[in-house]
């Protein structure tokens, strides 16, 4: 399975300057419909169900609405927050030992079985092979718009349903 892109490479953050063409973007909702720290469910241009979140500091994220463990479309109803995780990025990139450093990531938690998913990458913070998938999202003229899928979903070996 291909690894989803990391947060720094992702286009899921607001990055209007290098946005692709207007074509291919779909309207999600008015910007003021999005209450900070609470997701809404929307349909992406590819027809997928996604959860769109604006964090308290104003960043936008879009991850899959489908819970890969529970096999139900519920992620947008989860609690948004932060989680401190071990930073494994360095070791993955360089093949070196894990640094033991910690970092704080933005997460949305499944309302069913409470797994926490990294909003930037869509990955389960405790098992990064499992992912919700991510989509491009931006705000333009007071409207939240969804773009193309930016990383694939990853499924667990065992589901809870």
């Amino acid at each position: 399975m291909s690894r989803p892109s990391t947060s720094t490479e992702s286009t899921s953050n607001v990055s209007v300057s290098n946005a692709p063409d207007l074509e291919g973007w779909t309207r999600a909702c008015d910007a003021d419909r999005l209450v900070p720290e609470r997701a809404v469910a929307a349909l992406a241009p590819d027809g997928a169900q996604v959860a769109v979140v604006r964090t308290a500091d104003g960043r936008l994220f879009a991850v899959g609405h489908h819970d890969p463990y529970a096999l139900a479309n519920v992620i947008a109803r989860g609690v948004v927050g932060t989680r401190t995780v071990a930073d494994e990025t360095a070791s993955e990139k360089t093949g070196q030992e894990a640094t033991g450093q910690e970092r704080v990531v933005d997460v949305i938690q499944s309302p069913l079985y409470k797994q926490a998913f990294d909003l930037a990458t869509g990955e389960d913070v405790e098992d990064r092979s499992v992912s919700l998938g991510t989509w491009a999202v931006r705000e333009r003229d007071g409207v939240i718009e969804l773009g193309e899928r930016t990383s694939e979903a990853g499924h667990p070996e065992r589901t809870t349903r």
Binding site: T26, A28, R38, H66, V74, R77, G81, V107, P111
Partner: protein, 879 residues
């Protein structure tokens, strides 16, 4: 090679005669230590039940079920190596053939025999001691018979109280007097010695004890010998006559004049028996026949028979150790006792009567508050030898482990009032070898090692050391040892709520309340770090709601709510929700039922009566919730809060209005309580039950607050729950009026809401509450913390501010907006929602169902309950 020999050896048969507390402890010790599986154990008991806690016998009268007294989990008796035969009387021990024979003629061969037959209650040889109405106080059957007789008399003579007398003013006699009182009978205690509890307390303590017991309405006659029990006509007791010729009218006589060892089997088998009875054993509990051990009250060890459970437990451990090849021997008995008799605390420990040469006594006596405290110290006043505490025995747990040790302070400082005694004792550092729990012989060192081995809370310490699991009197000191050692060992007790909030919920609640904060942002700024998570956000939302923070979906609070609270419904496994309208007290009109039925039918909802006796409608999409609730609210229903950590339901029986046994209107009370506490947010869900009579059809004792009707009002039980760790609620107060009941529950709930931890239900909260149910009584009824006004005000605010959460949502377009399937798709319906029709209702389709549907073997319906067509592996909604 030695291993092979081990395996080849047949298992040894251990037969235990007697199935009391000591037999239970012996079996438990054998099973926990016989790792090699060498022994099969057969326990033969003559009572019709497994071993039970005889020490707590009197609690049978305060409504506890006999089963509550059972010792040990059922798993001990389910162990294939253990066989328990109840109702089995042993009639013969054949030492040559090594076989015991039961009354039914069953033969049990043994390799090792353990006599644990205990004692029988001695009845003094006074005339009339066998009349109808004479009882002893030893077994559950004895106690049940006494209760039955008193209740029968009460029914026959409703015009006057039943008059009871107890012969014997010792520990058991006072227990029996308390039992008579609990049954609503008058009681007189008759003691031959010049004071009560002559074996445990001295004259000064006896005087204070008598004063306290007199005040409770129990008549005490000391220095009085019973001549005979009288019956005017027939065989029923009507009176008693004393040695001085005086007669009194009584209906019931309980003999509590001590116990005698049941050593008749041993005598018949020719074993050596002590001068005053009891099977003589050596320090390792072996009788004159080396295949036979005797333990507990039937054993005469070091020349004495011990009628206390602690030495019995020690003997059980020694006998088990001996069979397993150990070398331990009897260290002598600790006769320390702490009891609550008729609500009066009495404790006696060490050399209570100052028999040590040169011993000095320090006495503090205060008849105004009703307490007597005496310490016995060595001739240099440095070493504690023993003591007696009457009225206020709170210092016992701290003092008893200090027996034989230097006090290091003026002895009087340990018994002066205002809690200073407890403070002085507990500030001392107990050495590792000091015995803390005498029932289970646990030392301070064992508590400390349990902490070192990773016990992270008091419950862990209790389960791995057994400390405090019998009489519980040592729990305060166990708790202190646990906490101070944790601190000292540098084991940081992480009580943080989560990575964002560095304190437990109980502290956070008070911090928010004291600081008067009303928003999440303010709270995080002041007490937390970061933006929160699914632990702290819902917890803070819950606290704000408990403190009366308005609608749970108002403004910022909306973002904090757990997913269920956020949509005021219960999320099910497929992502749809279930809906529970409130039906207060379970009372519903046929028209109400029709409304619910029609809603369920129109939306195709799976309908089920829940475990909590409510109607639950399953399978509603998030966007359907407002329309469903519009119909329900218009018909007069309101949110049932099935989604919240809040009051769920008040279950009730039909009560006096219809039931031929009901003594109060339980339905009305249930409705009143449900309407009072509805919407109250708490650390965990809250359930109540109201039963209209003692038959308890509402199963109220399985609830956080259980109310059971009496002829005089209501009994209130608290701290019960069902679920994975079922707990029966404990009696908090009796015969309350309606108003008293409501005040008591108000304060109980608000005290719990203010001090419990996250997701801690009332039962574990009560278990961890310092001082337990007695402390709770003091807080609620005696205002021991000066909090009652505060608690009352909190509840008054809650009741006044209550509004139906769903009605408010329906009236507010902003709150309604979130009930959408997809913000950019008006059809809203999630096409992945598929259902199987089963028993005429829908249930979510499993992956297997979907595969079968794709193969054309099964029909599915969508969330609108329309049939779906399956094409290949994809499913399409038929237009």
């Amino acid at each position: 090679m030695s291993e092979q020999i081990e395996q080849a050896r047949p298992r040894e048969r251990v037969v235990v005669i007697g199935a009391g507390m000591v037999a239970h402890r012996f079996v438990e010790a054998m099973r926990s230590r016989d790792d090699a599986g060498r022994f099969d154990i057969t326990v033969l008991g003559d009572e019709p039940r497994p071993p039970y806690d005889r020490v707590a016998l009197t609690s049978y009268f305060t409504g506890r079920d006999p089963e509550d007294l059972n010792l040990g989990g059922a798993e001990l008796w389910a162990d294939p190596r253990v066989t328990l035969a109840k109702r089995t009387e042993v009639t013969d021990v054949d030492r040559n053939a090594k076989v015991v024979t039961t009354a039914k003629g069953v033969r049990h061969p043994y390799d090792h025999l353990v006599l644990a037959t205990g004692s029988y209650a001695a009845v003094p040889p006074v005339k009339g001691n066998d009349l109808q109405g004479c009882f002893v106080y030893r077994t559950i059957d004895d106690v049940a018979a006494l209760r039955g007789y008193v209740e029968e008399l009460r029914a026959a003579h409703p015009e006057r109280p039943v008059r009871g007398a107890v012969v014997g003013g010792g520990l058991l006699g006072l227990e029996a007097a308390g039992a008579l009182q609990a049954l609503g009978a008058e009681s007189t205690v008759i003691e031959f010695a010049p004071r009560l509890m002559p074996l445990q307390v001295d004259d000064g303590g006896g005087q204070e004890l008598r004063r306290l017991i007199d005040n409770l309405g129990v008549e005490v006659r000391t220095g009085t010998a019973t001549q005979r029990v009288l019956a005017k006509r027939g065989r029923r007791v009507t009176g008693m006559e004393f040695a001085d010729g005086e007669k009194i009218d009584v209906d019931v006589v309980v003999f509590a004049t001590g116990v005698r060892p049941r050593d008749e089997l041993a005598r018949a088998a020719g074993l050596e028996v002590g001068e005053r009875g009891g099977v003589v054993v050596d320090d390792r509990c072996r009788t004159s026949d080396e295949s036979i051990h005797a333990i507990g009250e039937v054993a005469c060890i070091q020349g004495r028979v011990w009628g206390l459970v602690a030495p019995g437990y020690t003997m059980a451990e020694i006998a088990a150790d001996a069979l397993l090849g150990g070398e331990s021997s009897f260290p002598g008995a600790d006769t320390s006792t702490k009891l609550k008799l008729l609500g009066v605390d009495v404790a006696s420990f060490g050399d209570a009567f100052a028999t040590t040469p040169g011993a000095l006594e320090v006495v503090y006596s205060d008849s105004v508050t009703g307490s007597y405290k005496k310490l016995v110290v060595s001739d240099d006043a440095q070493t504690l030898l023993g003591g007696i505490l009457v009225g206020d025995a709170s210092a016992y747990a701290g003092l008893r482990p200090l027996v034989g040790r230097r006090l290091g302070a003026d002895p009087s400082s340990f018994i002066v009032p205002a809690g200073a005694g407890e403070g002085a004792a507990s500030s001392l550092e107990l050495p590792d070898d000091a015995a803390v729990c005498s029932c289970n012989n646990v030392s301070a060192g064992q508590i400390r090692s349990a902490v070192d081995d990773g016990a992270s809370n008091l419950a862990d310490v209790k389960s791995c050391t057994k400390a405090g699991t019998s009489c519980g009197s040592c729990l305060p000191i166990v708790k202190k040892l646990f906490e101070s050692h944790q601190e000292k060992a540098g084991i940081a007790v992480d009580r943080s709520l989560c990575e964002h909030i560095p304190m437990p919920r109980s502290e956070l609640f008070n911090a928010i309340k004291v600081a008067g904060l009303a928003t999440f942002s303010e709270i995080m700024e002041r007490f937390g770090t970061g933006r929160g998570c699914d632990i702290c956000k819902p917890t803070i939302a819950n606290i704000l709601a408990s403190l009366g923070g308005g609608h749970i979906l108002a403004g910022e609070q909306s973002t904090l709510q757990d997913s269920n609270d956020h949509v005021l419904a219960n999320l099910q496994k497929d992502g749809t929700y279930s809906v529970v309208p409130r039906i207060p007290g379970g009372e519903i009109t046929p028209d109400g039922l029709l409304v619910i039925a029609q809603v369920a039918k129109d939306f195709g909802l799976y309908t089920k009566i829940t475990g909590g006796q409510r109607i639950d409608l399953f399978g509603a999409r998030i966007d359907q919730l407002p329309a469903i609730w519009k119909r329900l609210v218009d018909a007069g229903f309101e949110s049932g809060h099935a989604y919240g950590k809040s009051l769920r339901t008040v279950k009730s029986c039909v009560g006096q209005s219809w039931c031929r046994y009901g003594v109060q209107d339980s339905v009305r009370m249930a409705i009143d309580l449900e309407l009072r506490y509805r919407g109250l947010r708490s650390p965990h869900k809250l359930k109540l039950g109201v039963s209209g009579c003692a038959r308890e059809c509402a199963e109220a004792r399985g609830k956080d607050a259980g109310v059971i009707a009496t002829e005089n009002g209501w009994n209130l039980y608290v701290g019960g729950n069902g679920g994975a760790t079922p707990k029966h609620a404990q009696l908090l107060a009796q015969d309350l009026s309606d108003a008293e009941l409501i005040t008591a529950i108000d304060r109980f709930f608000m005290y719990y809401v203010s001090t419990a931890e996250r997701l801690q239900r009332t039962a574990p909260w009560l278990e961890e509450l310092d001082g337990g149910i007695e402390r709770l009584r003091e807080v609620i009824f005696d205002d021991a913390l000066g909090l009652c006004d505060d608690l009352d005000a909190m509840m008054t605010h809650h009741v006044g501010a209550y509004a139906d959460e769903w009605r408010e949502v329906l009236e507010d377009p902003e709150k309604l907006a979130q009930f959408t399937g997809f913000v950019n798709d008006a059809t809203d319906a999630d096409p992945d929602l598929l259902y199987v029709v089963e028993r005429e209702q829908v249930r979510p389709a499993t992956a297997d169902d979907r595969a079968r549907a794709a193969a054309g073997e099964l029909d599915l319906v969508d969330s609108e309950r329309r049939p779906v067509m399956v094409a290949g592996s994809t499913l399409e909604v038929r237009a």
